[in-house]
């Protein structure tokens, strides 16, 4: 497999060189056109709208498409190197009336047009289906998720991003609590989560049904399960890039929701019509109060999240200022007296300037991110750790030799802190600071009408690390020229400067210590930075008008992963050793969308193996190298989600199956005597629980059925009420979460849990 990866690494570097090397400029023009597409309904940008430029072909005596594209999340589509002349501009998006106008581009001209689309006759669902069809390029490893996708999963209160993600193949959670996602073999801290370009460390709540990203607040999400480009630097496994919805620029909208699990409030509206808006969304968990009477079990968990946005847009610039605050508190196991807390605070702004004075649009992001987490035993000293960072990113592009190059430069000033107690002998309390600079450049090369190559190169560096070199490559082949079928490949190298350390042997805690990663150069020793090699191959087929098929195979090689050191004695341990890992597998997703019935079905097969030096790992294994399957190595995962609309109702069903994950058996309970200095008849000894071979056995399989039924009532044009009833774990399966070696208890996941919620909305 090393050889395999090496070949692709070299190949990707070669292709990158070819692409970056001077190439013959194609016969292209020098005019540019930027089209900003706005919805007349709420004054906000429309992502995914089709923007077409038709020219008149004198020879064939007919119009043909000269340039085509789809708007990005800012509603912007840009055409560069356009041959000067007269064009017919067509902007269309299902659900809106098509816009047409004549555009005349002079040589060297850069024109910015704002197009406002008014609502058409189609329903909202159709907007989604057709919009995605037009926008999706089926890139390997990428899943584009809309707010409507998120709403397909039966979730108390409303749809939530994390509930949706768990239905995707390759996405594993440690159970129903803890807020940890493992994506295609990667650990939670190897995933990058961005909200409007601002990093957030752990936005997933302690109940795995909820995150800081409810359906109502999300505009779109791009989830890269691997193979992402060099624009995303700093993580080695996956990227979840969330774009939030801006506030309504036309009118005030408010809603309130109350249910068995959540209380939520939402308010948005214009500060200055068509120019400035605000958006506030907040939720608070009620589970601590409502679940005990329903299930008969305590629910020592609570959380809240608040999203606040201020959006500003003129003809030449659009800015979003975003604030996010989350807080979680509770226990993963009710048998353990350990209170866990974590919180995220994110504040920042992102501006996109597309004024004519800029030859190319310019994007700035500036922000502050803070993450704290703690573990507080009721009978002992607590632990706490966190990370704070201030960052600035600049993204731009330039044209060289007839090709467009995107590039970006970012800098972060990071502070890592941890206050640990005496249990940790190697890792002491610390405060570390470091500055990190990163940069990338990427370009696309259309070889012919079938092949497109996208290559990028990134680098990160800090004072403690030599600069990384991260070439990445994506190739797509469209046999039919159009979007119906695509075969795509992605490969690349990924580095991570900072690392998160969690004792994954103990699922009863998710306390994480974050610190600057390995790679520090000492006088005589250099540890390698945590890094990964990705190789993905995907096939996407839009079958007919209503079916989508995605098949993917992947391999990820992880190098220098910090894993908990092993000792036979069961104690909390966040001392780490370095392991290498290999994750590989395949997955398939088939989706059907035709009102009133929609469903998707996913299957994923994967294998994750870690390998470490037995001595470093601290294992009591005799072999010099210890190979094991970590706790997130779930071999099979199968999910079915279906929605059916009838008589004003929407019924949703979600069923998921996962084969058993590895766990470590208990070898026994001992009362050890430190011989020969102590003697058995006079010394009571030390009580200890002994682990067996790490991850030597597997837990029972997991499966769960969730259902919901919802109906909206339009009281008057300005007031609507939506009611929802449903149940989690309908057939009350005792799905194991983990076996707690400290309390000798089998910890099960959520039992049968009915839910109800009611939401009222004013427009």
């Amino acid at each position: 497999m090393n050889y395999f990866f090496s070949i692709f690494y070299i190949l990707s570097v070669c292709v990158l060189c070819i692409v970056v090397m001077p190439v013959r400029a194609e016969a292209q023009g020098d005019a540019s056109l930027r089209v900003l597409v706005i919805s007349e309904d709420d004054g906000n940008p429309i992502p995914g709208a089709n923007v077409l430029l038709f020219s008149y072909d004198e020879k064939q005596q007919k119009e043909e498409i000269a340039y085509a594209g789809a708007t990005n999340n800012d509603g912007l589509q840009e055409f560069n190197s356009v041959v000067s002349g007269e064009y017919r501009l067509v902007v269309r998006f299902i659900g809106y009336k098509t816009h047409q106008e004549r555009v005349n581009l002079e040589k060297g001209e850069l024109k910015v047009l704002k197009v406002t689309l008014s609502l058409g006759v189609e329903t909202l669902d159709n907007i989604y289906i057709e919009a995605e069809r037009d926008v999706t390029v089926g890139e390997v490893g990428l899943r584009k998720i809309s707010a409507i996708d998120i709403g397909k999963i039966p979730t108390p209160g409303a749809g939530d991003l994390v509930s949706y993600l768990q239905t995707l193949p390759g996405v594993i959670t440690s159970g129903d609590r803890g807020g940890q996602l493992f994506i295609r073999g990667g650990t939670p801290f190897q995933n990058m989560i961005l909200v409007d370009n601002l990093p957030v460390i752990k936005p997933f709540h302690i109940s795995n049904m909820f995150s800081a990203f409810p359906q109502e607040a999300v505009q779109s999400v791009d989830m890269y399960a691997g193979g992402f480009g060099a624009k995303y630097l700093g993580r080695t496994s996956a990227v979840i890039d969330v774009t939030l919805r801006p506030g309504n620029m036309k009118r005030y909208v408010s809603s309130a929701s109350l249910g068995t699990h959540l209380l939520s409030l939402h308010l948005e509206g214009p500060v200055e019509t068509d120019k400035k808006s605000f958006f506030i969304f907040g939720r608070k968990s009620l589970m601590e109060q409502t679940i005990p009477p329903i299930t008969g079990n305590d629910a020592e968990i609570g959380f809240y999240d608040i999203i606040a946005r201020y959006s500003f847009r003129s003809n030449n610039v659009s800015c979003n200022i975003t604030g996010l605050r989350t807080y979680d508190r509770g226990q993963i196991s009710r048998y353990r007296d350990i209170d866990l807390t974590w919180s995220n605070t994110v504040m920042g702004g992102r501006c996109l300037a597309y004024h004519e004075i800029f030859k190319e649009p310019v994007e700035f992001t500036i922000g502050y991110t803070d993450f704290r987490n703690s573990e507080n035993p009721l009978d002992g000293m607590g632990l706490s750790a966190g990370i704070s960072q201030i960052y600035f990113n600049f993204d731009h592009r330039f044209e060289m030799l007839g090709k467009i190059f995107n590039y970006g430069i970012g800098t972060r000033f990071v502070k890592y802190t941890a206050e640990l107690n005496e249990r940790f002998t190697q890792i002491q309390s610390f405060l570390e600071r470091q500055g990190i600079v990163d940069a990338y450049v990427s370009t696309e090369w259309e070889l012919n009408e079938h092949f497109v190559i996208q290559s990028s190169l990134g680098s990160q560096m800090s004072l403690a690390n030599i600069p990384t070199l991260e070439p990445r490559l994506r190739i797509s082949y469209r046999p039919d020229v159009n979007d119906d079928q695509e075969i795509s490949l992605a490969a690349g190298r990924y580095y991570q400067i900072e690392t998160g350390i969690t004792d994954q042997r103990d699922a009863g805690t998710v306390f994480t210590v974050i610190r600057s990663g390995y790679g520090k150069i000492t006088s005589n020793y250099k540890k390698p930075l945590q890094n990964a090699l990705h190789l993905l191959l995907g096939y996407n087929n839009n079958i007919g008008n209503h079916w989508d098929l995605n098949i993917g195979v992947y391999a990820k090689k992880y190098i220098s992963i910090p894993v908990s050191k092993w000792s036979p004695v069961a104690t909390v341990n966040i001392e780490t050793a370095l392991a290498n890992g290999l994750a590989y597998g395949f997955d398939a997703l088939i989706e059907y969308n035709k009102n009133p019935f929609q469903f998707f079905m996913t299957y994923g097969w994967s294998k994750v193996r870690y390998k470490a030096d037995s001595g470093n790992l601290g294992a009591w294994i005799k072999a010099p190298v210890f190979e094991f399957s970590p706790a997130h190595d779930r071999r099979h995962k199968f999910n079915v989600v279906a929605n059916y609309q009838f008589s004003g109702f929407k019924a949703s069903v979600s069923w998921g199956y996962g084969s058993g994950k590895p766990f470590t058996q208990i070898f026994g309970f001992d009362l050890s005597v430190n011989i020969p200095t102590r003697y058995p008849t006079t010394d009571p000894g030390t009580a200890r629980t002994l682990y067996s071979r790490p991850y030597g056995e597997r837990l029972p399989d997991y499966h769960r059925l969730d259902i919901s039924l919802e109906k909206s009532f339009q009281i008057n044009p300005q007031w609507s009420i939506k009611a929802e009833v449903g149940a989690i774990n309908v057939y009350n399966r005792s799905n194991i979460f983990y076996f707690d070696a400290n309390t000798l208890q089998r910890i099960n996941q959520t039992p049968l849990m009915p839910f109800i919620s009611i939401k009222t909305q004013f427009n």
Partner: protein, 264 residues
């Protein structure tokens, strides 16, 4: 409508198939039988070995009785003895310490067998050291700043010796663990220390003149040759079980130093 119904029925049957799957969990490794903590000491009249059933939680009811028959056999002579349990209670936990009066002699291997009533047996062996090491202490008559070398003759494997330097202070004996080394010429294991440095390793500041007597002591354990075999971590020295079992002897030697001189 018929096709929709059959789809629903198929789905329910499908889920029912999974719902009937085994959902049990065996949290314990069946291979774990007993933990053993004890050693066979050559100069001791009787030796005690603590045995504990690994699957029994550390609660009074589970520890009150033990399902174990413990036998010790001299593999050279074939002589064997069934060990008697002597229960010692610490707080509310019962410990089972099996006593042997078998003669423990040099260069002999003993086998300990712990048998459960269902026939599962744990076996561990302990081989005694082949000789009693002689100690050579040089120089004699030094003071607290004199470097002293204690050589264990003819022990060449330094991991078989574990030693402590001791002194009497306010009518109590204190022992400071000291690392062993191997002589490059003779290959013998030795200790090398300065008394003042040993005293500085204690948590309280003691001057040489504060000692009760002018004697220093060397306590050392000489382990049998197989004591550390087949082990990586010291918690699992008993194959198939846990704990620590082996053969050794303990000796204490003393020597005098000049404690009258007061150093600045």
């Amino acid at each position: 409508m018929a096709s929709k119904n059959s789809l629903i029925v198929t789905f329910i049957i499908f889920i029912g198939m999974f719902a009937s799957c085994d959902n049990s969990l065996d949290a314990f490794d069946e291979r774990g039988l007993y933990s053993v903590h004890g050693y066979l000491g050559i100069f001791k009249e009787s030796n005690y070995i603590r045995i504990k059933e690994l699957r029994s939680p550390l609660v009074p009811d589970s520890t009150r009785a033990i399902d174990a028959t413990v036998t010790l056999q001299n593999l050279r002579t074939g002589e064997s003895e069934i060990l008697q349990d002597s229960v010692v209670q610490f707080d509310d936990i019962y410990t089972h310490n099996f006593r042997t009066t078998l003669d423990i002699v040099l260069e002999t291997t003993y086998r300990l067998m712990v048998e459960r009533s269902d026939g599962h047996t744990l076996k561990a062996t302990a081989t005694m050291p082949p000789f009693i090491a002689q100690t050579k202490i040089m120089p004699t008559g030094g003071n607290c700043l004199t470097y002293i070398k204690v050589t264990f003759i003819p022990v060449k494997d330094r991991k078989l010796i574990r030693s402590f330097v001791g002194f009497s202070y306010k009518k109590r004996m204190y022992w400071v663990s000291w690392p062993e080394a191997r002589d490059a010429d003779t290959k013998f294991t030795y200790l090398y220390f300065r008394p003042q440095t040993v005293l500085e390793r204690t948590p309280f500041s003691i001057a040489c003149g504060d000692l009760d007597t002018d004697s220093l002591y060397i306590k050392y354990y000489h382990y049998g040759p197989d004591y550390f075999d087949d082990t990586v971590d010291d918690t699992l020295r008993v194959p198939g079980g846990a704990g620590e079992f082996g053969g050794l002897y303990q000796k204490i030697v003393s020597f005098h130093i000049d404690t009258s001189h007061i150093f600045d």
